[in-house]
Symmetry: C2
């Protein structure tokens, strides 16, 4: 997930306070605005600007303003077992629905060892890692996944039938940072293809297909074509499994029935389905022992022999933890074009950006 390095740096607390105000101004309750803002600012801090206010704020606000997302939270638990639940988000904010679901999963896993809570009629939930990471402070392993609008064809096909369908896994450690995996099931994001097209730069083999479903390294053909799933038919299978669990099993939209869930859809409720899981480490092994083993395993990988020309071996999530330290200190970069959007949004809502007090 590429970060943004250019643009003016704003202190995170300043962006946070303003964003909380913005959401409240379009009808979100204080508590929900705090949560929603935290999920976005946390993404920015971790360098995942694609899921921070940088890319999401104006779209989220617009979608609430036009009524495609309900800013007032309404939730129902449709079905519940000791270790599972299905939560109907009733088109509320994706982050609010996801937070309820993940907290239910954590409560249940504390008692039974593991829990899966799914959501239906939900919305874009931001970065998957945010939900999986909620498990960490409870000594649990967290998991989250969601379906998304179709951009990937099945192997051998050329109609987009599946989303990037990302998933995240967060595993606690001791001295070491937790292992946090957050990945879409495509080799590269569409943004990367668009950038290559702009620069007239050939793609690497295996990134994309053209309109006829043939592998291509021509960025312009790829823009009109399809993203390639990781590992070919393997990534297709993973994306499909996530769509079947998140979409079909929850009674949400799936495959091609899925309307856009961001700026591309200002008319229809999106009906995202997502999945949240927690595994209580304690139900398998004592937590201190687990954390010590995690540190050992992580240390072994980090100190293993490096490939030629490589300076350092990273653990999944490590770059994001380091980016957070840096951005807490130096601020979150907001590109000029986005600053302009924020200023305009502030004017519209009577909340000047940046806030001066």
């Amino acid at each position: 997930m590429p970060g943004v390095d250019d643009g003016i740096r704003f202190p995170a607390p300043q962006l946070r306070a303003w964003t909380e105000q913005v959401f409240q101004r379009v009808g979100v309750s204080k508590d929900d605005a705090v949560l929603l803002t935290d999920s976005l600012i946390e993404a920015n801090l971790r360098g995942v600007d694609t899921h921070g206010i940088t890319r999401m704020l104006c779209t989220y606000v617009k979608r609430m303003q036009v009524g495609v997302v309900n800013p007032k939270t309404q939730l129902t638990v449709l079905r519940e077992y000791p270790s599972t639940a299905l939560v109907d988000g009733k088109n509320s904010i994706g982050q609010v629905v996801s937070n309820v679901a993940m907290r239910m999963a954590l409560d249940k896993a504390k008692k039974t060892g593991v829990a899966f809570v799914a959501t239906t009629h939900s919305n874009h939930f931001g970065a998957a890692a945010y939900w999986a990471m909620m498990a960490l402070e409870h000594g649990m392993i967290g998991f989250s996944a969601t379906n998304a609008p179709a951009v990937v064809a099945p192997t051998g096909g050329r109609t987009p039938m599946l989303g990037t369908n990302p998933f995240a896994v967060a595993i606690p450690a001791g001295r070491e940072q937790p292992v946090v995996l957050d990945l879409a099931t495509t080799v590269v994001a569409r943004g990367r293809i668009l950038l290559c097209a702009k620069q007239n730069k050939a793609l690497e083999p295996g990134w994309a297909f053209d309109e006829l479903g043939r592998p291509t390294v021509d960025p312009h053909a790829a823009v009109r074509g399809l993203l390639a799933p990781i590992g070919g038919y393997k990534g297709y299978g993973i994306a499909l499994a996530i769509d079947l669990l998140c979409g079909v099993m929850t009674g949400s939209h799936y495959g091609t029935h899925f309307p856009g869930f961001l700026a591309d859809n200002m008319t229809d409720p999106t009906d995202v389905g997502s999945l949240f899981a927690a595994i209580n480490v304690q139900s398998f092994v004592d937590l201190p022992e687990f954390k010590a083993s995690m540190d050992k395993a992580i240390g072994e990988i980090k100190t293993s022999t490096k490939a030629e020309g490589v300076k350092r071996i990273y653990i999944p999530g490590e770059i994001e933890f380091e980016t957070k330290v840096e951005r807490l200190k130096n601020g979150i970069p907001i590109p000029d074009a986005v600053v302009k959007d924020f200023v305009a949004l502030g004017k519209e809502l009577g909340l000047s950006f940046p806030m001066t007090s």
Copy 2:
């Protein structure tokens, strides 16, 4: 997983009966021999000969004969919660341990909605799909994963630190065949690289690294080098997460501590860790409704527009279901070299191959 097409075809019941006898002759109980044989013959029927008797039988037998695997089953449940358990396999046959674990998961999920049962001190469990598919007849979604000896380097590294760490997901459908995903986290199997080296044929980009950890299409350099994980750092992350859950969380071997679990290790207990999960569909949605939606979703993908030159779009597991129908009718092909091995094994054990009665 490449199948074998050459060799004499033997009827599955004949191979099954002989294999059951072979295992009993080296100390496996009748029930365990039936189960173990079924897991292997089922892999052959599905065309996954790498996990059938074709590749496994002589190795499994040898490992029991030299005492690296205990043919007599001994199991303990080390820890148990309503939705989880940790089973100590005490170096028993991997399939026997896995069967107990998956059955526990199914029982627990029936009551609580979802269950995760992990195993430690286990052995090679055959094809991952076999365990996930046990969930299907119960109207459940099955999952299995295992760690394995290191053949993959972390991104930026050049020491093998992680196994192919395969996982399987099986999701029931109605009229359509269930969706069955079973995949290793490497782009191709090592066997494919070896074949290219034999034929002096260049690899496709992205399949492998050389000894110094640099991408290579030279099959000979790749043989001395490393397999590439699917999606680069993404596959590395998935393989790592599976190793941490299956290995570290269960107190089993992990990373480089993992000795070989097949013909390459005839001296040390392998201490495989595996994970088995079941999700009771009914705890989210009524099963008939789920099955109808699954059929619809599968049908939409199968009938979506095909890429140029493609005859058919497959659902994960579909080729294996069709291969099973064909091989049940025409028999399982056993290559000449393997027939020779079986004849020799039969002689050694006083059980002629093929059995004539």
